[in-house]
Amino acid sequence: MFPFSFEWAWDMAHVVFFGGFWYAVSILGAGMTFCILKAAYDTINDSGDSHH
């Protein structure tokens, strides 16, 4: 549910529940986006020295 959904109410319960949920999802999304973009960059400019 998003704040623009008709069921949304600006109360503590909605803000805490969905705030926490979207916060976690945003971190995961941002983290994966960073990894994918950096992998694409590294592939194009392949240095060949990445080890783990």
């Binding site: 529940f17 976690a24 995961l28 983290g31 990894c35 992998a39 990445s50 783990h52």
Partner: protein, 418 residues
């Protein structure tokens, strides 16, 4: 036949032998899938759930796999946040076990809700006053975390890793894994806790209800603590089973000893809190609601004091004591007994907190309501176990799951030629 996919330097059984094993377990999967479709197409009348048992075998299985899957978040927390480097040798396997447990939990829930096509309603039409909504949010998000943690291991497959993009992606994901692990720990804390919180706020069920801190009953904290304590036991148990089946040593003893020691101290601290909670509930909470302790453990054919003693003493105090003492922890036989007891203990705790709650009579005219699951419920509960065996077998065969495997199993040239 598939040797190009097998990790370099690793020895695996022949492909036909592997395929036969997978085929046998797949028969169990098909049995479970058949029962699952019966539940979906004919409805929940295929189960023995009733007005007493809205929560039944599936919810117990859900809570149990989530508890034992707690090894993934706790080991990840120790490895990536507390920087305990030795655990890098078992973290891949802990993640795979966690992935299996959480995907199984979601699968069981998809069957339990009856109409999986409406599963997304919980996100769109959320009841923001329900602990189970929080569980659904955190469970889904944490499954995403486990998937993300599993991906680098998949990309390290011998062939996949030759693709430059995959190679770099795995490398970059390892680089930011601490962020994902921290997010996983945050999500796990809340969903493990809320699963316990659900029982603790059942004011109409004196067997379950607890006092607590602010909005959280003590069961909230006990569930999180027990998952962190017993989850690593399950990781160690599955590692031991995998070593037995493959006939190989896969993880060095110092890593096993360390995880067992951490688990032991977590179990001891948890069980002290659990004993205090039980005594307070028996002496204060239940009497204040008009019940005596004997009411919950008598006048029925199954739930006696044995279940309380088994859970707390035999499967709590005993494994905790074995695992915190160096001499017993480093004895392989005693350690195995301790981790088996620990896994049974946490599953028994979830059984009590789901099914005994439903069985205990509450009203003066009530009687004990015992329940036995239908074969469809049993089949769909065994389904995730079979699926887990297949996933572990495939992962072990094709992925570099255990970094110490080669070092611990030097391959002789003759064996390699075979």
């Amino acid at each position: 036949m598939d040797s190009a996919l097998i990790p370099e330097g690793a020895k695996r059984c022949s492909f036909p032998k592997f395929a036969i094993g997978i085929a046998i377990v797949s028969a169990v999967v098909l049995w479970g899938v058949f029962a699952m479709f019966l539940c979906w197409f004919k409805g929940l009348n295929q189960t023995n759930m009733n007005d007493y048992y809205g929560f039944a075998l599936w919810i117990w299985a859900d809570l149990a796999v989530i508890a034992v899957g707690g090894g993934a978040f706790f080991t990840g927390l120790l490895r990536y946040i507390f920087k305990i480097d030795e655990l890098k040798n078992i973290i891949n396997f802990a993640v795979i076990i966690g992935f299996i447990c959480y995907s199984s939990a979601l699968l069981i829930l998809a069957i339990d809700i009856g109409q999986p096509l409406r599963g997304w309603f919980i996100f769109w039409h959320a009841n923001v006053h329900s602990m189970l909504t929080e569980v659904a949010f955190c469970l889904s998000a944490y499954f995403a975390v486990l998937t993300i943690e599993f991906i680098p291991n998949i990309l390290e497959n011998r062939q996949a890793n030759k693709v430059p993009f995959f190679h770099h992606l795995a490398h970059n994901m390892h680089g930011v894994m601490a962020v994902f692990a921290a997010t996983g720990a945050f999500l796990s804390f809340f969903h493990q806790g809320s699963l316990g919180g659900v029982a603790g706020v059942l004011y109409g069920r004196p067997f379950a209800v607890r006092e607590g801190l602010l909005i959280w009953p003590w069961t909230f904290f006990l569930f999180t603590w027990s998952a962190a304590a017993f989850g690593p036991c399950f990781t160690l148990l599955v590692t031991k089973i995998t070593e037995t089946v493959t006939g190989k040593k896969l993880v060095k003893d110092n890593v096993v000893h360390l995880l067992a020691k951490i688990s032991g101290w977590m179990i001891v601290t948890y069980i002290i809190a659990k004993i205090i909670d039980t005594i307070y509930w028996a002496l204060v909470t239940a009497p204040s609601l008009g019940f005596t302790l004997s009411h919950f453990y008598s006048n029925n054919g199954f739930y006696g004091y044995w279940i309380l003693i088994t859970e707390i003493v035999l499967c709590g105090v005993v494994p905790g004591a074995i695992l915190i003492m160096k001499s017993t922890r480093e004895n392989p036989r005693l350690r195995l007994i301790a981790i088996i007891l620990g896994v049974i203990g946490v599953c028994l705790n979830r059984w009590v907190m789901v099914l005994q709650i439903m069985a205990v009579p509450v009203m003066s005219f009530d009687t004990w309501a015992l329940y036995f699951p239908s074969w469809q419920e049993i089949a769909t509960t065994i389904l995730p176990v079979a699926y887990g065996i297949i996933l572990i077998a495939v992962a072990y065969r094709y992925l570099p799951v255990f970094p110490q495997e080669q070092e611990l199993n030097t391959i002789e040239p003759v064996a390699e030629a075979e």
